[in-house]
Protein backbone atom coordinates (compact mmCIF):
# COMPACT_ATOMS: atom_id res chain seq x y z
CA UNK A 1 0.00 0.00 0.00
CA UNK A 2 1.43 3.32 -1.03
CA UNK A 3 0.69 6.29 1.14
CA UNK A 4 -0.31 9.65 -0.26
CA UNK A 5 2.28 12.36 -0.05
CA UNK A 6 1.76 15.19 2.37
CA UNK A 7 1.07 17.54 -0.50
CA UNK A 8 -1.84 15.43 -1.65
CA UNK A 9 -3.01 15.34 1.92
CA UNK A 10 -3.84 18.99 2.06
CA UNK A 11 -2.84 22.44 3.08
CA UNK A 12 -0.20 23.51 5.55
CA UNK A 13 -1.06 22.06 8.98
CA UNK A 14 -1.68 24.33 11.92
CA UNK A 15 0.89 24.36 14.73
CA UNK A 16 0.86 21.12 16.72
CA UNK A 17 -0.36 20.65 20.29
CA UNK A 18 2.28 18.00 20.80
CA UNK A 19 5.69 17.28 19.32
CA UNK A 20 6.71 13.61 19.51
CA UNK A 21 10.41 12.98 18.90
CA UNK A 22 11.03 9.42 17.76
CA UNK A 23 8.71 7.29 15.62
CA UNK A 24 9.51 3.87 17.08
CA UNK A 25 6.98 1.74 18.96
CA UNK A 26 6.61 4.27 21.81
CA UNK A 27 6.41 7.34 19.59
CA UNK A 28 4.00 5.76 17.10
CA UNK A 29 1.71 4.58 19.90
CA UNK A 30 1.84 7.97 21.58
CA UNK A 31 1.17 9.90 18.37
CA UNK A 32 -1.71 7.61 17.38
CA UNK A 33 -3.32 7.90 20.83
CA UNK A 34 -2.92 11.67 20.94
CA UNK A 35 -4.35 12.06 17.42
CA UNK A 36 -7.32 9.83 18.23
CA UNK A 37 -7.86 12.02 21.28
CA UNK A 38 -8.17 15.10 19.09
CA UNK A 39 -4.71 16.67 19.27
CA UNK A 40 -2.59 18.01 16.44
CA UNK A 41 0.74 16.18 16.44
CA UNK A 42 4.14 16.63 14.83
CA UNK A 43 5.97 13.27 14.78
CA UNK A 44 9.69 13.70 14.07
CA UNK A 45 12.18 10.95 13.29
CA UNK A 46 15.71 10.72 11.93
CA UNK A 47 14.89 7.60 9.94
CA UNK A 48 13.54 7.29 6.42
CA UNK A 49 10.42 5.38 7.56
CA UNK A 50 8.44 5.20 10.79
CA UNK A 51 9.14 2.19 13.00
CA UNK A 52 12.31 2.98 14.93
CA UNK A 53 14.86 0.20 15.32
CA UNK A 54 12.33 -2.48 16.31
CA UNK A 55 10.08 -1.94 13.28
CA UNK A 56 12.86 -0.62 11.09
CA UNK A 57 11.76 -0.57 7.45
CA UNK A 58 13.28 0.77 4.26
CA UNK A 59 11.61 3.94 3.02
CA UNK A 60 8.23 3.49 1.35
CA UNK A 61 9.59 3.88 -2.17
CA UNK A 62 11.89 0.90 -1.58
CA UNK A 63 9.36 -1.59 -0.26
CA UNK A 64 9.69 -3.70 -3.39
CA UNK A 65 13.48 -3.60 -3.61
CA UNK A 66 14.45 -4.28 0.01
CA UNK A 67 12.57 -7.35 1.25
CA UNK A 68 11.83 -7.43 4.97
CA UNK A 69 9.51 -10.44 5.09
CA UNK A 70 10.20 -12.63 8.07
CA UNK A 71 12.42 -10.10 9.85
CA UNK A 72 9.72 -8.45 11.93
CA UNK A 73 7.64 -9.18 15.01
CA UNK A 74 4.33 -7.81 16.18
CA UNK A 75 3.62 -6.41 12.73
CA UNK A 76 -0.17 -6.16 13.20
CA UNK A 77 0.41 -3.42 15.80
CA UNK A 78 2.80 -1.61 13.44
CA UNK A 79 0.30 -1.74 10.58
CA UNK A 80 -2.48 -0.50 12.83
CA UNK A 81 -0.39 2.47 13.98
CA UNK A 82 0.57 3.29 10.40
CA UNK A 83 -3.05 3.17 9.35
CA UNK A 84 -3.99 5.52 12.17
CA UNK A 85 -1.14 7.91 11.38
CA UNK A 86 -2.02 7.80 7.70
CA UNK A 87 -5.66 8.61 8.38
CA UNK A 88 -4.60 11.64 10.41
CA UNK A 89 -2.28 12.84 7.67
CA UNK A 90 -5.39 13.03 5.50
CA UNK A 91 -7.16 15.15 8.09
CA UNK A 92 -4.08 17.39 8.29
CA UNK A 93 -3.69 16.90 12.04
CA UNK A 94 -0.47 14.89 11.75
CA UNK A 95 2.78 16.25 10.40
CA UNK A 96 5.17 13.34 9.90
CA UNK A 97 8.72 14.64 9.55
CA UNK A 98 11.09 11.86 8.48
CA UNK A 99 14.85 12.31 7.94
CA UNK A 100 14.68 15.09 10.53
CA UNK A 101 17.30 15.14 13.26
CA UNK A 102 16.34 16.98 16.42
CA UNK A 103 19.40 18.62 17.90
CA UNK A 104 17.89 20.41 20.87
CA UNK A 105 14.62 21.20 22.61
CA UNK A 106 14.26 24.21 24.88
CA UNK A 107 11.59 25.41 27.25
CA UNK A 108 9.82 28.63 26.34
CA UNK A 109 7.17 30.72 28.03
CA UNK A 110 4.23 28.73 26.66
CA UNK A 111 5.76 25.38 25.83
CA UNK A 112 8.75 24.11 23.93
CA UNK A 113 10.81 24.93 20.89
CA UNK A 114 12.13 21.85 19.12
CA UNK A 115 15.03 22.49 16.75
CA UNK A 116 15.67 19.99 13.99
CA UNK A 117 17.55 19.76 10.74
CA UNK A 118 15.90 18.33 7.66
CA UNK A 119 18.45 15.98 6.08
CA UNK A 120 16.21 14.51 3.42
CA UNK A 121 18.36 16.02 0.66
CA UNK A 122 21.95 15.32 1.71
CA UNK A 123 24.33 16.97 2.08
CA UNK A 124 21.97 19.94 2.34
CA UNK A 125 20.71 20.74 5.84
CA UNK A 126 17.64 22.85 6.40
CA UNK A 127 16.63 24.18 9.79
CA UNK A 128 13.18 23.29 11.08
CA UNK A 129 11.65 24.82 14.19
CA UNK A 130 8.58 23.33 15.83
CA UNK A 131 6.71 24.90 18.74
CA UNK A 132 4.15 23.16 20.92
CA UNK A 133 2.83 23.32 24.48
CA UNK A 134 3.77 19.66 25.09
CA UNK A 135 6.83 17.59 24.20
CA UNK A 136 7.07 13.81 24.20
CA UNK A 137 10.53 12.29 23.87
CA UNK A 138 10.61 8.72 22.57
CA UNK A 139 14.20 8.51 21.39
CA UNK A 140 14.84 4.91 22.47
CA UNK A 141 18.21 3.42 23.25
CA UNK A 142 21.33 2.04 21.58
CA UNK A 143 23.55 -1.00 22.15
CA UNK A 144 25.75 -0.88 25.21
CA UNK A 145 29.32 -1.88 24.39
CA UNK A 146 32.12 -3.34 26.46
CA UNK A 147 35.48 -3.13 24.71
CA UNK A 148 37.69 -6.15 24.06
CA UNK A 149 40.99 -6.49 22.19
CA UNK A 150 40.26 -6.09 18.48
CA UNK A 151 36.74 -4.65 18.87
CA UNK A 152 37.73 -1.74 16.66
CA UNK A 153 38.65 -4.00 13.73
CA UNK A 154 36.39 -3.67 10.70
CA UNK A 155 33.96 -6.58 10.74
CA UNK A 156 33.08 -6.01 14.39
CA UNK A 157 29.66 -4.37 14.62
CA UNK A 158 27.08 -3.83 17.28
CA UNK A 159 24.33 -6.45 17.27
CA UNK A 160 21.92 -3.63 16.48
CA UNK A 161 24.13 -2.52 13.60
CA UNK A 162 23.92 -5.96 12.01
CA UNK A 163 20.17 -5.87 12.40
CA UNK A 164 19.77 -2.36 11.01
CA UNK A 165 21.71 -3.28 7.86
CA UNK A 166 19.47 -6.30 7.43
CA UNK A 167 16.10 -4.67 8.18
CA UNK A 168 16.76 -1.30 6.59
CA UNK A 169 18.96 -2.28 3.67
CA UNK A 170 18.50 -5.99 3.08
CA UNK A 171 22.23 -6.53 3.66
CA UNK A 172 23.70 -9.53 5.47
CA UNK A 173 26.95 -8.06 6.73
CA UNK A 174 29.01 -11.25 6.98
CA UNK A 175 29.35 -14.86 5.91
CA UNK A 176 30.58 -16.41 9.18
CA UNK A 177 29.28 -14.53 12.17
CA UNK A 178 29.86 -14.81 15.90
CA UNK A 179 27.47 -12.97 18.22
CA UNK A 180 28.32 -12.09 21.80
CA UNK A 181 27.22 -10.11 24.82
CA UNK A 182 24.17 -10.62 26.96
CA UNK A 183 20.41 -10.42 26.72
CA UNK A 184 17.67 -11.86 24.56
CA UNK A 185 18.28 -9.34 21.75
CA UNK A 186 21.14 -11.54 20.50
CA UNK A 187 18.61 -14.24 19.55
CA UNK A 188 16.49 -12.38 16.96
CA UNK A 189 19.67 -11.00 15.40
CA UNK A 190 21.13 -14.50 15.16
CA UNK A 191 17.88 -15.93 13.82
CA UNK A 192 17.51 -13.20 11.19
CA UNK A 193 21.11 -13.54 9.98
CA UNK A 194 20.81 -17.33 9.79
CA UNK A 195 17.52 -17.07 7.92
CA UNK A 196 19.14 -14.74 5.38
CA UNK A 197 22.01 -17.07 4.61
CA UNK A 198 24.78 -16.13 7.03
CA UNK A 199 26.49 -18.92 8.92
CA UNK A 200 26.10 -17.99 12.57
CA UNK A 201 28.95 -19.97 14.08
CA UNK A 202 28.11 -19.25 17.71
CA UNK A 203 25.97 -17.09 19.95
CA UNK A 204 27.95 -16.35 23.12
CA UNK A 205 25.62 -15.39 25.98
CA UNK A 206 27.51 -14.29 29.07
CA UNK A 207 24.67 -14.98 31.50
CA UNK A 208 23.94 -18.32 33.10
CA UNK A 209 20.85 -20.11 31.77
CA UNK A 210 19.63 -20.70 35.32
CA UNK A 211 19.52 -16.99 36.16
CA UNK A 212 15.84 -16.79 35.22
CA UNK A 213 14.90 -19.63 37.55
CA UNK A 214 15.82 -17.65 40.64
CA UNK A 215 12.87 -15.31 40.09
CA UNK A 216 10.45 -17.10 37.80
CA UNK A 217 7.45 -14.92 38.62
CA UNK A 218 7.74 -12.29 35.87
CA UNK A 219 8.51 -15.02 33.35
CA UNK A 220 5.38 -16.96 34.25
CA UNK A 221 3.25 -13.84 34.04
CA UNK A 222 4.44 -13.10 30.48
CA UNK A 223 3.71 -16.22 28.43
CA UNK A 224 4.05 -14.28 25.17
CA UNK A 225 7.76 -13.86 25.93
CA UNK A 226 8.09 -17.64 26.30
CA UNK A 227 6.48 -18.13 22.92
CA UNK A 228 8.79 -15.56 21.34
CA UNK A 229 11.89 -17.22 22.81
CA UNK A 230 10.65 -20.59 21.58
CA UNK A 231 10.29 -19.25 18.04
CA UNK A 232 13.88 -18.00 18.02
CA UNK A 233 15.09 -21.28 19.50
CA UNK A 234 13.34 -23.16 16.70
CA UNK A 235 14.95 -21.00 14.00
CA UNK A 236 18.39 -21.35 15.60
CA UNK A 237 17.95 -25.13 15.92
CA UNK A 238 16.89 -25.39 12.28
CA UNK A 239 20.07 -23.59 11.20
CA UNK A 240 22.19 -25.50 13.76
CA UNK A 241 23.30 -22.32 15.52
CA UNK A 242 24.87 -23.17 18.88
CA UNK A 243 24.02 -20.89 21.81
CA UNK A 244 26.80 -21.05 24.40
CA UNK A 245 25.89 -19.65 27.79
CA UNK A 246 28.39 -18.27 30.34
CA UNK A 247 30.60 -17.56 27.34
CA UNK A 248 31.98 -14.30 25.99
CA UNK A 249 33.80 -12.99 22.94
CA UNK A 250 37.09 -11.94 24.56
CA UNK A 251 39.08 -10.90 21.48
CA UNK A 252 38.97 -10.41 17.72
CA UNK A 253 42.03 -10.80 15.54
CA UNK A 254 42.96 -9.94 11.98
CA UNK A 255 44.89 -7.58 9.76
CA UNK A 256 42.59 -4.81 8.61
CA UNK A 257 39.51 -6.94 9.27
CA UNK A 258 38.35 -9.72 11.55
CA UNK A 259 39.47 -13.23 10.65
CA UNK A 260 39.50 -14.95 14.05
CA UNK A 261 37.30 -14.59 17.13
CA UNK A 262 38.44 -15.78 20.54
CA UNK A 263 35.78 -16.90 23.00
CA UNK A 264 36.08 -18.16 26.58
CA UNK A 265 33.87 -19.64 29.26
CA UNK A 266 33.22 -17.30 32.17
CA UNK A 267 33.28 -18.04 35.87
CA UNK A 268 30.52 -16.77 38.17
CA UNK A 269 32.19 -13.36 38.35
CA UNK A 270 32.56 -13.10 34.58
CA UNK A 271 36.29 -13.87 34.45
CA UNK A 272 37.50 -16.07 31.56
CA UNK A 273 38.18 -19.59 32.83
CA UNK A 274 41.77 -20.59 31.96
CA UNK A 275 41.98 -23.33 29.36
CA UNK A 276 38.51 -22.74 27.93
CA UNK A 277 39.54 -20.37 25.17
CA UNK A 278 38.48 -21.27 21.64
CA UNK A 279 39.59 -19.73 18.36
CA UNK A 280 36.85 -19.51 15.76
CA UNK A 281 37.34 -18.52 12.11
CA UNK A 282 34.85 -15.74 11.39
CA UNK A 283 34.65 -12.60 9.27
CA UNK A 284 32.04 -10.78 11.34
CA UNK A 285 31.31 -10.23 15.03
CA UNK A 286 28.16 -8.71 16.49
CA UNK A 287 28.19 -7.58 20.10
CA UNK A 288 25.73 -6.01 22.51
CA UNK A 289 25.54 -5.82 26.30
CA UNK A 290 22.03 -4.56 26.72
CA UNK A 291 21.19 -0.97 25.89
CA UNK A 292 21.81 2.60 26.97
CA UNK A 293 18.80 4.97 27.05
CA UNK A 294 19.12 7.87 24.61
CA UNK A 295 18.66 10.85 26.96
CA UNK A 296 20.29 13.61 24.92
CA UNK A 297 17.15 15.76 24.66
CA UNK A 298 15.92 15.18 28.21
CA UNK A 299 19.08 16.02 30.14
CA UNK A 300 19.47 19.66 29.01
CA UNK A 301 15.77 20.24 29.75
CA UNK A 302 16.52 19.35 33.36
CA UNK A 303 14.62 16.07 33.56
CA UNK A 304 15.63 14.07 36.60
CA UNK A 305 16.91 10.52 36.25
CA UNK A 306 16.26 7.28 38.11
CA UNK A 307 18.24 4.05 38.47
CA UNK A 308 17.02 1.73 35.68
CA UNK A 309 18.30 -1.35 37.53
CA UNK A 310 20.58 -2.48 34.70
CA UNK A 311 23.63 -0.36 35.45
CA UNK A 312 22.42 2.80 33.73
CA UNK A 313 20.23 5.71 34.66
CA UNK A 314 16.98 6.39 32.81
CA UNK A 315 14.45 9.21 32.82
CA UNK A 316 12.38 9.39 36.00
CA UNK A 317 8.65 9.30 35.21
CA UNK A 318 5.38 9.12 37.17
CA UNK A 319 2.73 6.50 36.41
CA UNK A 320 1.55 8.68 33.53
CA UNK A 321 5.00 8.95 31.89
CA UNK A 322 5.42 12.57 33.01
CA UNK A 323 9.04 13.60 33.55
CA UNK A 324 9.96 15.93 36.41
CA UNK A 325 9.73 18.89 33.99
CA UNK A 326 6.11 20.01 33.45
CA UNK A 327 5.03 19.55 29.85
CA UNK A 328 7.75 17.00 29.05
CA UNK A 329 6.73 13.36 28.71
CA UNK A 330 8.82 10.35 27.79
CA UNK A 331 8.05 6.76 26.85
CA UNK A 332 9.89 3.65 25.79
CA UNK A 333 13.55 2.86 26.37
CA UNK A 334 14.37 6.38 27.58
CA UNK A 335 12.75 5.45 30.88
CA UNK A 336 14.35 2.02 31.14
CA UNK A 337 14.95 -0.65 28.55
CA UNK A 338 12.07 -3.11 28.30
CA UNK A 339 11.20 -3.94 24.73
CA UNK A 340 8.59 -2.95 22.19
CA UNK A 341 5.45 -4.09 24.00
CA UNK A 342 6.36 -2.03 27.07
CA UNK A 343 7.27 0.91 24.85
CA UNK A 344 3.88 0.79 23.13
CA UNK A 345 2.09 0.70 26.49
CA UNK A 346 4.14 3.60 27.82
CA UNK A 347 3.55 5.57 24.63
CA UNK A 348 -0.20 5.19 25.07
CA UNK A 349 -0.05 6.19 28.74
CA UNK A 350 2.09 9.22 27.95
CA UNK A 351 -0.37 10.41 25.31
CA UNK A 352 -3.28 9.95 27.72
CA UNK A 353 -1.42 12.18 30.20
CA UNK A 354 -0.92 14.81 27.51
CA UNK A 355 -4.63 14.68 26.67
CA UNK A 356 -5.52 15.10 30.34
CA UNK A 357 -2.99 17.86 31.01
CA UNK A 358 -4.04 19.85 27.92
CA UNK A 359 -7.72 19.24 28.80
CA UNK A 360 -8.39 17.69 25.40
CA UNK A 361 -11.92 16.37 24.93
CA UNK A 362 -11.10 12.81 23.83
CA UNK A 363 -9.73 10.56 26.53
CA UNK A 364 -10.00 6.79 27.00
CA UNK A 365 -12.30 5.60 29.75
CA UNK A 366 -11.00 4.63 33.16
CA UNK A 367 -11.26 0.90 32.59
CA UNK A 368 -9.11 0.98 29.45
CA UNK A 369 -6.63 3.24 31.20
CA UNK A 370 -6.40 0.90 34.18
CA UNK A 371 -5.85 -2.03 31.82
CA UNK A 372 -3.06 -0.13 30.06
CA UNK A 373 -1.42 0.61 33.42
CA UNK A 374 -1.56 -3.07 34.39
CA UNK A 375 0.01 -4.08 31.08
CA UNK A 376 2.82 -1.59 31.52
CA UNK A 377 3.43 -2.73 35.10
CA UNK A 378 3.60 -6.37 33.99
CA UNK A 379 6.05 -5.66 31.18
CA UNK A 380 8.16 -3.45 33.42
CA UNK A 381 8.43 -6.23 36.00
CA UNK A 382 9.56 -8.52 33.21
CA UNK A 383 12.15 -5.97 32.09
CA UNK A 384 13.52 -5.70 35.64
CA UNK A 385 13.79 -9.48 35.85
CA UNK A 386 15.53 -9.45 32.48
CA UNK A 387 18.10 -6.95 33.71
CA UNK A 388 18.79 -9.06 36.80
CA UNK A 389 19.17 -12.23 34.72
CA UNK A 390 21.54 -10.57 32.23
CA UNK A 391 23.94 -8.41 34.25
CA UNK A 392 27.24 -7.08 32.99
CA UNK A 393 29.87 -9.59 34.14
CA UNK A 394 31.52 -7.78 37.07
CA UNK A 395 35.00 -8.93 36.02
CA UNK A 396 34.61 -8.18 32.30
CA UNK A 397 37.64 -5.90 32.37
CA UNK A 398 39.77 -9.02 32.88
CA UNK A 399 39.75 -9.52 29.10
CA UNK A 400 41.24 -6.07 28.41
CA UNK A 401 44.92 -5.58 27.78
CA UNK A 402 46.57 -2.25 28.53
CA UNK A 403 46.67 -1.41 24.83
CA UNK A 404 43.01 -2.30 24.15
CA UNK A 405 41.23 0.70 22.66
CA UNK A 406 38.39 1.87 24.91
CA UNK A 407 37.44 5.17 23.25
CA UNK A 408 37.16 4.43 19.54
CA UNK A 409 37.10 8.08 18.43
CA UNK A 410 40.14 9.37 20.32
CA UNK A 411 41.84 5.96 20.53
CA UNK A 412 42.32 6.06 24.28
CA UNK A 413 43.51 2.75 25.71
CA UNK A 414 42.39 0.78 28.73
CA UNK A 415 45.83 1.39 30.20
CA UNK A 416 45.37 5.17 29.98
CA UNK A 417 41.94 4.94 31.61
CA UNK A 418 43.28 2.77 34.44
CA UNK A 419 46.15 5.20 34.98
CA UNK A 420 43.66 8.05 35.21
CA UNK A 421 41.91 6.13 37.97
CA UNK A 422 44.95 4.99 39.93
CA UNK A 423 47.28 7.96 39.51
CA UNK A 424 44.77 10.71 38.81
CA UNK A 425 41.65 11.63 40.73
CA UNK A 426 39.26 10.08 38.20
CA UNK A 427 36.27 8.27 39.62
CA UNK A 428 33.79 8.93 36.83
CA UNK A 429 33.85 9.16 33.04
CA UNK A 430 33.77 12.96 33.01
CA UNK A 431 37.03 13.16 34.95
CA UNK A 432 38.56 10.48 32.74
CA UNK A 433 37.59 12.59 29.75
CA UNK A 434 39.48 15.57 31.13
CA UNK A 435 42.57 13.47 31.81
CA UNK A 436 42.66 11.23 28.74
CA UNK A 437 40.35 12.64 26.02
CA UNK A 438 38.17 9.48 26.25
CA UNK A 439 34.71 10.63 25.17
CA UNK A 440 35.95 13.82 23.52
CA UNK A 441 35.66 12.68 19.89
CA UNK A 442 32.86 12.56 17.35
CA UNK A 443 30.52 10.32 19.36
CA UNK A 444 30.98 12.41 22.51
CA UNK A 445 31.34 9.34 24.72
CA UNK A 446 28.13 7.65 23.61
CA UNK A 447 30.08 4.48 22.79
CA UNK A 448 32.79 4.43 25.46
CA UNK A 449 30.94 6.21 28.29
CA UNK A 450 29.32 3.17 29.92
CA UNK A 451 32.56 1.16 29.71
CA UNK A 452 34.76 3.96 31.07
CA UNK A 453 32.24 4.37 33.88
CA UNK A 454 32.52 0.66 34.76
CA UNK A 455 36.32 0.86 34.73
CA UNK A 456 36.60 3.74 37.19
CA UNK A 457 33.38 4.13 39.21
CA UNK A 458 32.66 2.28 42.44
CA UNK A 459 30.89 -1.01 41.73
CA UNK A 460 27.09 -0.72 41.80
CA UNK A 461 26.90 2.95 40.93
CA UNK A 462 24.79 3.33 37.76
CA UNK A 463 26.06 5.14 34.67
CA UNK A 464 24.92 8.74 34.31
CA UNK A 465 25.39 9.93 30.73
CA UNK A 466 27.07 13.25 30.07
CA UNK A 467 24.86 16.22 29.23
CA UNK A 468 25.29 17.20 25.59
CA UNK A 469 23.78 20.49 24.54
CA UNK A 470 23.63 19.48 20.89
CA UNK A 471 22.25 16.01 20.22
CA UNK A 472 23.50 15.78 16.63
CA UNK A 473 26.16 17.86 14.86
CA UNK A 474 24.62 20.69 12.85
CA UNK A 475 26.20 23.03 10.36
CA UNK A 476 26.68 26.68 11.20
CA UNK A 477 24.46 27.44 8.22
CA UNK A 478 21.58 25.48 9.71
CA UNK A 479 22.18 27.13 13.09
CA UNK A 480 22.12 30.57 11.50
CA UNK A 481 18.85 29.67 9.80
CA UNK A 482 17.17 28.97 13.11
CA UNK A 483 17.77 32.49 14.42
CA UNK A 484 15.03 33.80 12.19
CA UNK A 485 13.38 30.95 10.35
CA UNK A 486 11.56 31.87 7.16
CA UNK A 487 7.92 30.81 7.30
CA UNK A 488 8.26 28.00 4.78
CA UNK A 489 10.97 26.40 6.88
CA UNK A 490 8.77 26.17 9.97
CA UNK A 491 6.07 24.39 8.01
CA UNK A 492 6.22 20.69 8.71
CA UNK A 493 6.12 19.10 5.28
CA UNK A 494 7.16 15.51 4.82
CA UNK A 495 9.85 15.13 2.19
CA UNK A 496 8.79 13.30 -0.96
Amino acid sequence: MREPSEREAGERPEPPDLVVVGAGPAGMAAAATALDGGLRVALVDSGAAPGGQFWRHPPDHARETVPTAGLHHALPAYRAFRATLNAHRHTGRLALLLNHHVWTAVREEHGFAVHAVDRSRPPEERAVLLRAPALLVATGAYDRQLPFPGWDLPGVLTAGGLQSLLKGGGVTAGRRVVLGGTGPFLLPVAAALAARGAEVVAVCEAAAPTAWLRRPGPLLRNPAKWAEAARYAAVLARHRVPVRTRTAVVAAEGEGRVTVVRTASLDADGRPVPGTERRIDADTVGVGWGFVPQLDLLLPLGCELADAGDGTMAAAVDDGQRTTVPGVYTAGETCGVGGAALAVGEGRLAAVSVLADLAAPGRPDHRRLAAARRTVARHRAFARALARAHPLPPAWSAWLTDDTTVCRCEEVTAGAVRTARTEGPASDHRQVKQLTRAGMGWCQGRMCGPAVHCLVAPRGRPYVPAERLIATPVTLGALADTAEPPPDRTCPITPD
Binding site: H61, A62, P122, G161, S164, G169, V171, R408
Partner: protein
Protein backbone atom coordinates in the same frame (compact mmCIF):
# COMPACT_ATOMS: atom_id res chain seq x y z
CA UNK B 1 17.37 -7.78 -5.48
CA UNK B 2 18.51 -6.03 -8.62
CA UNK B 3 20.69 -2.97 -8.61
CA UNK B 4 19.11 -0.31 -10.75
CA UNK B 5 21.30 2.68 -10.18
CA UNK B 6 24.62 3.87 -8.76
CA UNK B 7 26.50 6.58 -6.92
CA UNK B 8 30.23 7.10 -7.15
CA UNK B 9 32.69 6.24 -4.41
CA UNK B 10 36.14 7.72 -4.89
CA UNK B 11 35.41 8.01 -8.59
CA UNK B 12 34.16 4.45 -9.06
CA UNK B 13 30.47 3.70 -9.64
CA UNK B 14 28.85 1.67 -6.88
CA UNK B 15 25.46 0.10 -7.56
CA UNK B 16 22.83 0.22 -4.86
CA UNK B 17 19.29 -0.85 -4.27
CA UNK B 18 16.83 2.02 -3.76
CA UNK B 19 16.21 2.45 -0.06
CA UNK B 20 19.69 1.50 1.05
CA UNK B 21 21.90 3.83 3.01
CA UNK B 22 25.42 4.55 1.80
CA UNK B 23 26.70 2.20 4.52
CA UNK B 24 24.39 -0.61 3.44
CA UNK B 25 25.47 -0.22 -0.19
CA UNK B 26 29.16 -0.16 0.76
CA UNK B 27 28.82 -3.25 2.96
CA UNK B 28 26.80 -5.05 0.27
CA UNK B 29 29.68 -4.43 -2.15
CA UNK B 30 32.09 -6.06 0.27
CA UNK B 31 33.63 -2.88 1.67
CA UNK B 32 33.68 -2.94 5.45
CA UNK B 33 36.21 -0.14 6.07
CA UNK B 34 36.45 3.18 4.27
CA UNK B 35 38.29 5.65 6.41
CA UNK B 36 41.16 5.77 8.89
CA UNK B 37 41.38 7.29 12.33
CA UNK B 38 43.18 10.57 12.81
CA UNK B 39 45.61 9.26 15.42
CA UNK B 40 46.56 5.66 14.71
CA UNK B 41 45.40 5.55 11.07
CA UNK B 42 43.29 2.54 11.99
CA UNK B 43 40.65 1.39 9.49
CA UNK B 44 37.03 2.13 10.28
CA UNK B 45 33.72 1.30 8.64
CA UNK B 46 30.23 0.75 9.94
CA UNK B 47 29.95 -0.15 13.63
CA UNK B 48 26.66 0.90 15.26
CA UNK B 49 24.64 1.29 12.06
CA UNK B 50 22.24 3.78 13.65
CA UNK B 51 24.10 7.08 13.75
CA UNK B 52 25.54 6.92 17.28
CA UNK B 53 29.21 5.97 16.86
CA UNK B 54 30.39 8.15 13.91
CA UNK B 55 32.77 5.42 12.72
CA UNK B 56 31.31 5.38 9.20
CA UNK B 57 32.01 9.01 8.25
CA UNK B 58 32.24 9.91 4.56
CA UNK B 59 32.23 13.05 2.44
CA UNK B 60 29.04 13.48 0.39
CA UNK B 61 29.10 15.89 -2.56
CA UNK B 62 31.95 17.78 -0.91
CA UNK B 63 30.48 17.99 2.57
CA UNK B 64 32.53 16.05 5.13
CA UNK B 65 31.52 14.38 8.36
CA UNK B 66 28.42 12.63 6.99
CA UNK B 67 27.37 9.36 8.65
CA UNK B 68 27.12 6.78 5.87
CA UNK B 69 24.65 4.74 7.95
CA UNK B 70 22.13 7.60 7.96
CA UNK B 71 22.46 9.00 4.45
CA UNK B 72 20.12 7.46 1.89
CA UNK B 73 21.97 6.57 -1.29
CA UNK B 74 20.85 8.54 -4.33
CA UNK B 75 21.79 8.20 -7.97
CA UNK B 76 24.59 10.52 -8.95
CA UNK B 77 25.83 11.19 -5.43
CA UNK B 78 29.57 11.70 -5.17
CA UNK B 79 31.03 10.03 -2.09
CA UNK B 80 34.66 10.34 -1.04
CA UNK B 81 36.20 8.14 1.61
CA UNK B 82 39.54 7.41 3.16
CA UNK B 83 39.99 10.66 4.98
CA UNK B 84 40.61 11.11 8.67
CA UNK B 85 37.81 11.91 11.05
CA UNK B 86 38.64 15.59 10.75
CA UNK B 87 37.39 15.38 7.15
Amino acid sequence: MTAVTAFTVDGEPLPFVPGQTLAAALVASGRIAWRTTRGGRRPRGVFCGIGVCYDCLVTVDGTGGQRACLVQARAGMTVTTGEGDDA
